[in-house]
Symmetry: C2
Subunit: 574 residues, 2 copies
Amino acid sequence: MNHTGQKVSLCGWVQYTRETGGLAFVVLRDRYGLTQLTFDKSANAGLFEQAVQLGREFVVRVSGTVRERESKNKNMPTGDIEIIADELKVLNKAQTPPFTIEDNTDGGDDLRMKYRYLDIRRNPVRESLLLRHRMAQETRTFLSKENFVEVETPVLIKSTPEGARDFIVPSRMNPGQFYALPQSPQTFKQLLMVAGLDRYFQIVKCFRDEDLRADRQPEFTQIDCEMSFVEQEDILQMFEALACHLFKTVKGLDIAGMPRITYADAMKFYGNDKPDTRFEMKFVELNGVVKNKGFKVFDDAEFVAGICAKGAASFSRKQIDELTEFVKRPQVGATGLVYVRYNEDGTLKSSVDKFYNEEELKNWAAAFGAEKGDLMLLLAGPTGKTRKALSELRLEMGERLGLRDKNKFSCLWVLDFPLLEYNEEHARWFAMHHPFTSPLPEDMAKLDNPAQYGEIRANAYDIVINGVEVGGGSIRIFDKDLQGKMFSVLGFSPEEAQAQFGFLMNAFEFGAPPHGGIAFGFDRLCSLFGGADGIRDFIAFPKNNSGRDVMIDSPSVIDEKQLKELGISIRAIQ
Amino acid sequence: MNHTGQKVSLCGWVQYTRETGGLAFVVLRDRYGLTQLTFDKSANAGLFEQAVQLGREFVVRVSGTVRERESKNKNMPTGDIEIIADELKVLNKAQTPPFTIEDNTDGGDDLRMKYRYLDIRRNPVRESLLLRHRMAQETRTFLSKENFVEVETPVLIKSTPEGARDFIVPSRMNPGQFYALPQSPQTFKQLLMVAGLDRYFQIVKCFRDEDLRADRQPEFTQIDCEMSFVEQEDILQMFEALACHLFKTVKGLDIAGMPRITYADAMKFYGNDKPDTRFEMKFVELNGVVKNKGFKVFDDAEFVAGICAKGAASFSRKQIDELTEFVKRPQVGATGLVYVRYNEDGTLKSSVDKFYNEEELKNWAAAFGAEKGDLMLLLAGPTGKTRKALSELRLEMGERLGLRDKNKFSCLWVLDFPLLEYNEEHARWFAMHHPFTSPLPEDMAKLDNPAQYGEIRANAYDIVINGVEVGGGSIRIFDKDLQGKMFSVLGFSPEEAQAQFGFLMNAFEFGAPPHGGIAFGFDRLCSLFGGADGIRDFIAFPKNNSGRDVMIDSPSVIDEKQLKELGISIRAIQ
């Protein structure tokens, strides 16, 4: 774009001003970038005076002529040009903002959230919101082309005790009764399939009243989808194509396919149902190789396994000590770490040389497929716990070796999740996904045998990108009897099932088609595309970890009159 | 599309079956239409037997060969072809539905709502939802191209006493405190302008806990938009273009411009701030023509006005009596009706011939611009009340004369609304639009004189289509002092204003740009495009007039345990 010589008019915010030798420079910021305005004292002293008095974040309208800059600024996208101003109007003044409106601001988290409207003026936050916009539009474009119809499902629905805690809304017109906000539109999208809509989607707010961790919000957004007359394969192909479309249109990236792995293999090779596959470093199980050589830790362990970190033999003693400390943290939970260095000179050095000679370590190396220069790291203990710890160690090593590049993307389908998991506290089985998930056809018979509940695989799938579960779904039950059986497995009496989900089970009696779907966590997906760790900057007005919006100061107390009208009162604290 | 001879596989629902002379015909319904399947007993007796046993709404998968029909069915879009079936699989059985799945169903409203998933299978409801989908996608496409960014604003916000009643949500993590559901994202979109996002939109759910009329829903959807650095003219042009884009892409219609009228003129010529301009029949004021001829009703009236119905001189005595009854209804509120027939032979006949001779009636006709064959209808009384009644009469005449064709669209901007209206009950001024609306610059000074409050015009605009207000907005206040003055005019103390809207007023101190926006009632807009009277069938799962979803039976009672956790209890009914 060469606008040199053109008359232009711009509106925006004063980023900063600078004065030198009879010239005033004002850098103006708008949504589209920065532009330098130049005021020449000798040309118009009055205008020059106005310019030097502009404060940071003043809102101005300026007119002038575009000119090529003599000293070009390579750090500014519009650094090649400047505007020689001949008119200036202050549209609004501004107090000095409580933090700098710069990419690296001096504002802390709390201050940024309190003045979120100033925080959004910063490039990184604005860019995150613009990215989110593009993601949403491209999702809709893709799905609309594929004949999905976007249907808005209700926000004021019915509370159900299954799953997470609901937010509830007292009904003034129906005193003593309450709506609930949806944790997902699950049952409604299934009803839309019964209704014959064939392909549904919605980008939709969902709500969960749970204690918040750093990256959880009480309200969050899903890309929610459902299809009729499909099997798992149809869904995997459709949403693989959606992911590829988003990577292509939003990031300009071609994704080379989306491998599939079973839940069982994900646990075996990564100790994790959402493995980060940007790097290999798969688990190697070593019970057959390391036992019965007199090393009690391994001999007594249910499970010994390790990872081979390519090129990490050069890790110093100190670095390995750090890794040992890392695995011994309570969150990781291992009791210790065994290492073997495969030195460049072909020798092997381990922390258990007392028990294993070089010949034996060579066998280990062979099992790992290790080469000179590699570092092998081994953990031992109960299977589940050790896998979990080794998964953490693998991720830590990936991090330390720079294998977790935020600009590289590796996608994966994880299939065949367990249908049910036993909860000791409640002494009953819970649905791992939700109670509407169909078992795999070949595992159906096991529903009749409580001893086999744990072995039943669900017709369910998760989509994992860079070790983050960004979406998941399943083929649903569409038969009333099977749904009834599932509720009974989950400990519902027929009456409870009818009271809570009767409308869905009844719907299944009027010609329900086979159907299945998926939901993506949209906030998370955006932050992943944006290469960010957290989701907050991809949400315009997020809440803090106490569920509070500190900008508007909400939640807040409300009038006694209003409570009375709603037929509720506040309990005395007990 | 000519698929003759092709092998196809179809899934769908059995609309009906019919058997004749060794042939079974099954009409299959899917989202895309109806298809006839033919089963020949002589070709495959077993398959034929299966087909004749299919019940209505059974879900089937069928394979076969496409063939041109011998007797084509002109009433079916796919009536030219049939499928000669060679495979049939029942995917799910169905009970007989409680009402017929036909365009004109035998199901009443309550039954349809209870089994909404069956109701949606009917063409008119499905088509309404598909239309809504297209409207939403085209809105997003248009606005995205115009550089609007879609930003999701929070659903859990803060209760404010101004405006309609809020739905509230108890906060478990902040006992005794409550969120509110937004009546609109008004303050958030203004903050996004302060944040520099320049052009914002959102298709967003809003909530209002009001007593419901036939066409109000507790949750409804808006197309919500805001722009910075604009004046009224920019907004009118942008959203006129959006409306034209929707008419063009969704309905294939070219809208010939969008006339503008002031609120004052709308009241003067139509007695209505949302006039139906599909037809003329403007008010003619007659005080100067009809008074002082001895007819006491007119002589005593503050205001005499009428409409001229083209070609309605042929209305019978009975029809005119019906009109008289119509205007005397309490909802209309006139005391009587005067008519003048301009007969085809040039004579004039009125209901007040006693007081006015033909010469005088000729003057009336001249004032109306009436021609032979027209019918003039006059009302008299206090100005406001008479205008309202005459507006109703005008709409009734439009209806009777077939001038309100649902497939014809007439759009209009109504400008310069009053800023404030006095509420006798509360004995204070209220904002007609909302407290963030800017006065017209030329009326600004009147804010200092309470006696002139009623004369202040707002920098506000409504978009009216076929007599329905489908959207409205304003240029906003962006100056803290003016906003403070406005709150004071509305009876807020400075402390109350700060407590409720402090975050917005503070934001105005950090460089707020001039801005303005608009919001469209999306449910209403869709129903208008769909040529429907009500909005219900444009909402997948609407609530009834008691705010109840009869399908899922919500709202409902919830566990005492859950209430306790939330720190609230239900009041005894008093």
